[in-house]
């Protein structure tokens, strides 16, 4: 069975992680890449409504159909499914991102938003990220790409319930140690300390750089951050129904009657 796989990312169509993923997945089926024309990291779940989107064919590698778009990962997936592909893909994969997407941070992640968009269309989807290794160490996507191939096969065998997608983080390759297993995890809670650096420009005016180091407030062994720290591939099931269902009953008990009288 030839799968039909749509790939996007948020590092842009030239990123080595995207190319490694696309190349590896040609083993499993037909691969179409629709990716941003430049890096979009930190762009969250943006969509582009205020300017026209341009689509240009690009060379991603042998046997891969490639397009670059002047938009976000979510735009790319929307365009791919609605305008470029003749039928809905069997899978949407987003990545492989250069750097982790863990815990609360996935709210800001363009990589994850690409996969969420796939899931909104009802297509089994996954976001894939490679945790950065030591400073200066070259990124090696081969393990993560090999995992993506196996995951694609597993997803076609098992499927995913409507509205659920997978967020995958592969730890940085290590020379020593055992082969990495998988740990099924939940999202941890990340906060940032010392978030802004305040500086002064040559004209004496202040400006701020977003900085800060990640602190995992939630050290549970079942969190995604713990898993990758301990050398496991983290697989987290996520969904996009942000409703907090239990809180509905609580809120119904509040006194909203002020609305019946003049403020």
């Amino acid at each position: 069975m030839a799968l039909h796989i749509l790939i996007t990312n948020d590092d842009g169509y030239q990123a080595p992680g995207l190319r490694a993923l696309a190349e590896a997945l040609t083993e499993v089926g037909r691969v179409v890449v629709v990716a941003p024309d430049r890096e979009r990291s930190g762009g969250g779940h943006a969509i582009t409504a205020h300017k026209p989107l341009r689509v240009d064919p690009v060379d991603i590698g042998p046997g891969i159909e490639g397009y670059r778009v002047n938009g976000s990962p979510a735009d790319c997936v929307k365009l791919g499914i609605d305008a470029l592909l003749e039928r809905a893909p069997d899978l949407v994969f987003s990545g492989i991102n250069a750097g982790a997407n863990l815990g609360t941070d996935i709210l800001y992640s363009g990589t994850v938003s690409g996969a969420v968009e796939g899931a909104i269309y009802g297509v089994p989807s996954a976001a894939l990220s490679l945790v950065r290794g030591e400073e200066g160490e070259p990124e090696n996507y081969s393990e993560a790409a090999a995992f993506a191939v196996r995951l694609a096969r597993l997803l076609m065998e098992r499927g995913l319930p409507e509205g659920i997608l997978l967020n995958v983080n592969v730890p940085a390759p290590r020379a020593e140690g055992p082969g990495n297993g998988v740990r099924i995890t939940r999202l941890g809670v990340r906060r940032y300390r010392d978030v802004f650096h305040r500086r002064t420009d040559p004209r004496g005016k202040a400006y701020y750089w977003l900085a800060g180091r990640a602190v995992d407030l939630d050290q549970g062994p079942d969190t995604d951050a713990s898993a990758v720290r301990e050398g496991y591939i983290s697989v987290t099931p996520i969904h996009f129904d942000l409703t907090h269902h239990e809180m509905i009953q609580t809120l119904k008990g509040w006194d909203w009657s002020f609305l019946l009288s003049p403020a």
Copy 2:
């Protein structure tokens, strides 16, 4: 008790909905506005890491401390709490947005992302949106602003559990009909039909406009979309733990053993 309220939005610091909200809330406490310098709609939960953020004082109205920032609503809340305010605010309100933020669409909403950012910092937070009325009808934010004042008081009385925030949609003001009550709702599912318009530029090259009309796939009376359609103020408790906890057990039952043998 003088509350300390941080306000942001995604329509920019000049938007009338922001000004109506800020002005109304001066009745309840000290109001600080930190808002984007221009419209950021559709920007999702973006953060700005690739360029410095500039902060300029702006006049929002009497008794209101105002700043504009060349960043997203999430940037504004981060900057406000981490760099501009001397202590954490008691409330973060985002809005009042010109137009609804309902169902799946909140994933793309800058308005909601401003309130989510407040909740990430542990501050009781709400996103407020005014549903658009008939074409050409001027937007009247007074009812929504009056509701925000009452909601601020209710939130200070009741608090919100860590990690939960409120997404509020106020229906378009109607001349006839009863005063609007509140309905506590869940997020519905919105999809778009006919998403892209394909056009050809003067040089014969194709481009695409994001378009499409919203279709509420989920017509349950307890959804946010149903509530505002029937003239109620919709209040939805949301959270930002995207983990699908029930699916964790299912995934643990899948066969991941392929990782132990060479691919």
